[in-house]
Symmetry: C2
Subunit: 400 residues, 2 copies
Amino acid sequence: MRGFRERADVAAVQAWLGEHPVPHGVEVVPLGAASGRRLAAPLVADRPVPGFERAAMDGWAVAGAATFGASPGDPRPFDVIGMARPGHPFEGRVGPGQAVRIMTGAPLPDGADAVLRAEDGDEQQGRLQAHAPTTPRRHVGGVGEDIQPGDHVVPTDRPLRPQDLGVAASLGHDVLAVLRRPRVALCVTGDEVLPVGRMPEGAYIVDANGPMLAALVARDGGEVVDHAYVPDDPQQLTEALRADVDLLLVTGGSSVGTEDHAPRLLAEHGNLVFHGMAMRPAAPTGLGTLGRVLVALLPGNPVSCLAAYDLLLARWLRRSAALPGPWPYRAEEGVLRERIASALGRLDYVRVRIEGEEVEPLATRGASLLSTTTRADGFVLVPPASEGHAAGTPVTVWRY
Amino acid sequence: MRGFRERADVAAVQAWLGEHPVPHGVEVVPLGAASGRRLAAPLVADRPVPGFERAAMDGWAVAGAATFGASPGDPRPFDVIGMARPGHPFEGRVGPGQAVRIMTGAPLPDGADAVLRAEDGDEQQGRLQAHAPTTPRRHVGGVGEDIQPGDHVVPTDRPLRPQDLGVAASLGHDVLAVLRRPRVALCVTGDEVLPVGRMPEGAYIVDANGPMLAALVARDGGEVVDHAYVPDDPQQLTEALRADVDLLLVTGGSSVGTEDHAPRLLAEHGNLVFHGMAMRPAAPTGLGTLGRVLVALLPGNPVSCLAAYDLLLARWLRRSAALPGPWPYRAEEGVLRERIASALGRLDYVRVRIEGEEVEPLATRGASLLSTTTRADGFVLVPPASEGHAAGTPVTVWRY
C-alpha cells in the first residue's frame, strides 16, 4: 500500500507503445462505411478515368484545323448535323465542313478533335459561323486525363477521405478492403460500480469510465467489442484478462493496494511491463501484455482514466488507423493566469479554462473530479523537466 | 450559355448561410451514440456525486481529533474493528479509540470523520498505532465534491465529449436528449451518371459526388436520408426538389447551359438566392430555398462539388452540430514553391502538396481532376482581394 517503488517515465512508456505491433487484419466494407478507415493496399486504377474523350466546354465539336484563321470578319461556316449531350453521344461521324453541338461532359464524336466554345460561334438554322479558331485537343478532356491505368490513386498511409470514396466509385468500386479496426474490450472492475443506466445509490457509484472509454476508443479508430463488469475477485478477473481482443482496457484496482488484483494477476499470467507512471493524475497505471493482447490497467478514477488513456492508449489506436497526431485535440497558445506547480520528473496533466488569451488552471488538487473535464476547455501538460509554470508563462493548451 | 452576368462574393454567401436557420428538433439517443452530438438542454445534476462520503486514500477511518499530537515517538493506539471496501461499507459505528481499515472509494463509516493514511500507521493483530496526525475531513471525499445538485455539468454549445458521457452515466442517465442531425438528401443528376457500384463504360461515368458528399455530410454532423439519381428531365427534377429534408444537395446541371435545369426550376418553384460564385473552381454553384428547405446546386464536376461544399455547406451543417470551425481541416503554415495566379475579385481553391516547409500547387488549370484531391495534402485559398501569390510567399495550407 506504500506507493510505487519507481515510476516509469511517460515518454519511455509511449516509446514502448510505439513499438507494440498494431493489428493487420483486413475486412471489406461498403464505400459508405469506409470514410476515415485505412486501405489495406493502395488503390491502383485498372482503367482510365474518364474512359472516353469528352467536351470540357459547351460549344460545337469540330475538326480543329477547319477553324484556323477564323475571326469575326472572316468566319468559318459549318453544317450542324446533330447534338451530343452527356449520356447521349452523337452516333454518327463529323465530316469536313460539319459540326455537332456539344455540351460539357458529352463524348466527342468521331471525326471531331476539338471543341469550339459557345462564345466563339453563332448557330442559326443549322448553320454555324465560327468566328474564332480552336485547335486540335482544345477544350477536350482526354481519355485518362484524371486517372491513368496503373496510377496509385489512394495510398494506405492515411485515413480515407471523402474524395477518395469518389475516386473509388468512379473506378467502379462499391466496397473497399480496409484494415480492420483494433478490437477493444472494456473490463470495468470494482464492487462499488453499478452498470450504466442504474441510479447511483448508497455506497455505489455508476460506471463513468465505460461510456467515456467507449467513445474515446471509437474516436481513435478502435471498435469496442465487449464491455464487462467484473467484481473485485481474482478468479473472475483472471478470466476477464484472457479476452480475445487486440487491446484490453481494465479500469479500477490498478494501484498497489491489497484489493488491487489486476497488476499482480497480469504479472502472474502475462507480462506487466510498466506499473506506476511518473505522471499526475494517473500514476497508478499499468501496462503489459497477455499473449498478443495489449493490456492497460487504468485507474478507476475517471479523470486519471481519461489522462492515462489520452497520454498512452490513444496514440497506439491512432497509429493503427493512421489517424494524425497523438490525439484529436487542437493546440492553442495562451498565457497562464495562475501558477501551476509540478514536481521534477513528473508529467502533469492540468485541466484549464481559456478566457481570451488567458489560461486558468482548474482543480489542480485532486484527480477525482470528472466534472472538471466537462467544465474545462482543455488541458496543459507540464513536462517532467519542469517544476511548474509561473503565472504569465505562455503555454500550449490542448483543446478538448 | 455565355456564363454568369455577375458572381456572388463567397463571403456574402457565407454570411447569408450564417443567418439561415438550423433545425431544432430533438431526439433521444443512447449514451453510446451521443458522442459528438449536441445536447438539447444543459445537463443539470439532480443529485450529488459522489452521493456518500468516501475515503480518498487507503488507510484507516478514525475520528481525526483522536490522532492529534501523534508522532513516531508518541503514537496513538486504536482498535481496528473492521474493514470498509468500495461497495462493502462497514455497517457499524466507529467509537472512541476505534478505527476501521478503509480503502480508497469506500464509504466513511459512521463515527469517523477522517482517514489516516496507510503510511502514517502500523496495524498488527487488530491494533493500529497512528504515528502521525490526521484532521477531520482529511483524505475524505465529501458528498457532492464532484457534482452538486443543480450544477450545470454539460452545456449545449459544444459537441458532447467522451467525458460528458461519463458524467451523465454517473448521474444515472443512459440516454440523452440531443438536437437531431440536419436531414440531408442527395440528388445526383445527369444522364451520363451511373450509380455507385456500376462499372464505368462507354459514354457513362460513375457517380463520384454521391459517396463523397455522403461522407462529408456525416463528417459535419448531418444525416443523409436519401441518395437519388435523377435524369436531366425537368419534370423529375422538379419532383426531386420537393424533398422533405433540411438540406438538399443537387449535383450537376448547375450552370447556365440549356440542359442546366436546376437553377431555373429552383427560381420558378422556390427562391434562387445566389447563382454563380466568384470562386474557382465551383463558379457554377447555386443556393436558395424551397419552402423551409435549404437547396444547394453544386457543380457535377467532383472537385468543384467538393470546393463548393467545403466553402459553403460545411459551415452551415457544423453550426447545427456546434462543431468547431468551418471545416475539420488543420491549418499549417508553409512557403509557396511556385507562383499561384488568381484574379482580383475571385476566391481560388488551390490543391497543394506539402514537402517539408514547401508548398507545391497542383493542377491549377482545371477543376475536373478529382485525383488531385486524393494526391494533394490540402488546399490554399487565395482571397478575392489578391491577384495571386508569388513563389516564396508564406501561406496557410488547410490539411485534408
